[in-house]
Amino acid sequence: MRSALNDMLWLLPVPLLLVVLSRVGVLLTDAAVVGIVLGLALFMTSGIWLRSVVRRRIFLAGALRADSPWYRHLRGGALMALVALGGAIPLAAILVVATARVDGPQLLLGMVLNVPVLVLLRGFWSRRIAGHAVPRFRAMLALRLALAVNLGLLFLALAAAALFRTYPNLSGLTLAEAVLSEAGRQEAASELLQALMQLAASKDAIAWWLGQQVLPGVIEPGLQLAGWMVLVATDVLVLWSYLLICASALTLVHWRAWHPGSPTE
């Protein structure tokens, strides 16, 4: 109970940071934007790297003899961390752009309310797999399962909220006009952030334009929901980035307990 509450409290700075970023993001300079993206990417990398290490250990435990020297060589080190960083940078940039562009409370509200959900899901899976998982991998496995389920729940919630949102009326515009119109509305002090925001706005304009030109012809509500889910699928990357940061926060808090140890242990 206390551990879960502590985890929730440790996670709170993540949505707080994103809420602040959503309000001041457009005021930041290029250097500040790059700094925040790199900082978030490094933070994310810790979680990604540790999960990769666990995944590698599980593979090595099944594939190699315990006394094999390759067990140590392939355990996952700086190279694995660099690869993780390479994946984390675009995800962090996507998250920063999405929060700087956010124009409704749904996404941020979802992120705030998701804090207890993630911790409770992790606790739930930790208990569920207690009788099956190897103890030293159990925490990370429970986290992976919790992240997967949480991503699905968050996406469903935001896809449902997307159905009731108000969108710009693009019905009288061509696709090119819609893209230009949406891109032109983006403003930021940082030229880099503005360019990224325009890119994201163009993607949204394409999705909304398709939604307004194609989806009205679909009468079946189930199909409409499915259509919207396809159109907002790119938002999964935003949610995944957010969950990775949360996972990294938990990983850093429980680093000693969750790390599977060196191969020689």
Binding site: L9, L12, P105, V112, E187
Partner: protein
């Protein structure tokens, strides 16, 4: 000891849970409520300006300058429009009445011709018989000088040109204002960083008012229908107005009638003398008397008309020139009153819109809102 530890553990959990709930509530409030962010991020020294979808920011003192310039723009625009309307109306009426004056000699020619004489007599007979109400002399004069209804059409055309000029002035004023504003924003674009300025001034309504499309409905007031109504009041039943305008003209009409009666006596006398010469013509005496008497009548009439023309033609023309000058002055006054009222309403609308549009600055400048 265990009990104590357990109690502390429960209290710690409760405190954490409470802190968590409060933190989540605070974060939720920060997500939903924009006001704390506005207060936190807004800078009192900046004023946002929105004009036709373009946004920029100015320092509060610069925004005050923009307001002063807007008011000056409104004053200048209205004054220049008024001057331009007065000049155009005067020039157009000059041209029109010059053309009308050029027709007065033709009227005098008709007046002092035999045809004119007998037409006048015939019209007088019709008037005495109650078949004609207007003064036949003036009636014919209006017909010849004003070419029927042409004057109303000419005045309508002048009104159309003046309305077009004023609408163009309004467009120019609007364009000049936008250019000036954008020029000023260029001077101060250093502060065009995105964010939430404390005060936002939306100038779209002011721009519409400058262009004549605002609350004062300047362009509507200038429309052909309303202007036509104004000039209709000035033209009115033109013949009656001209007949009543000058007592001198009426006196002239009476003297002309008396002169006509005098000419009738002289013509009767000359015709009688001619008829006497046919007494020896036998059976053809009646035909001779008619021919000779008629010829003598016409010759005498022509001679008397020529003498009358020699004596009174200039007076007749001067009288008509005076009537035309009076009519011109009345028309000009009527038209300028109409345009003056429209421009004054436009000016008032612009000044009110300046005051209303920039009223959000009152709080920035620390004075009580004027409205």
């Amino acid at each position: 000891m265990n009990m104590h530890t357990q109690t502390r553990g429960i209290a710690g959990n409760a405190a954490r849970a409470l802190g968590l709930v409060l933190a989540l509530a605070l974060l939720t409030a920060l997500v939903i409520d924009q006001r704390p962010w506005d207060r936190l991020l807004a800078s009192d020294s900046r004023v946002g300006v929105v004009i036709e979808g373009q946004r920029f920011q100015l320092a509060a003192e610069d925004a005050g300058i923009v307001e002063q310039r807007a008011a000056g723009h409104a004053d200048r625009g209205a004054a220049e429009a008024s001057d331009a309307a007065a000049r155009l109306v005067s020039a157009e009426l000059d041209v029109l009445f010059e053309r009308l004056s050029a027709r007065v000699p033709a009227y005098a020619d008709w007046y002092f011709s035999l045809r004119g004489e007998y037409t006048r007599l015939w019209l007088l007979v019709l008037r005495w018989g109650g078949l004609l109400t207007a003064d036949p002399v003036v009636y014919k004069g209006v017909e010849l000088v004003f070419a029927g209804d042409e004057l109303a059409g000419q005045i309508g055309a002048i009104e159309g040109r003046v309305a077009g000029l004023l609408a163009g002035r309004a467009r120019e004023l609007r364009t000049a204002w936008i250019e000036e504003l954008l020029g000023m924003s260029g001077e101060h674009r250093a502060e065009s960083a995105p964010g939430a300025p404390a005060t936002v001034v939306v100038l779209d309504d002011l721009v519409a008012e400058f262009g004549g499309h605002g609350g004062s409905e300047f362009l509507t007031r200038l429309s052909a229908s309303s202007a036509g109504a104004a000039s209709a009041g000035a033209l009115g039943p033109l013949t009656a107005r001209l007949a009543l305008r000058s007592s001198a003209a009426a006196a002239g009409g009476r003297s002309l009638a008396l002169k006509g009666a005098g000419r009738g006596a002289a013509k009767a006398g000359s015709a009688g003398v001619g008829i006497l010469g046919c007494a020896a013509s036998g059976p053809a005496a009646w035909a001779c008397a008619l021919a000779v008497g008629g010829a003598a009548w016409l010759a005498t009439d022509w001679a008397l008309l020529s003498a009358d023309e020699w004596r009174n033609r200039d007076a007749l023309i001067a009288d008509w020139e005076q009537r035309l000058a009076l009519l011109r002055a009345e028309l000009e006054q009527s038209l300028l009153e109409h345009y003056g009222q429209a421009i004054e309403a436009w000016h008032e609308g612009m000044r009110l819109e300046v005051e209303r549009s920039f009223s959000p600055l009152d709080s920035v400048r620390g004075r009580a809102p004027s409205r």
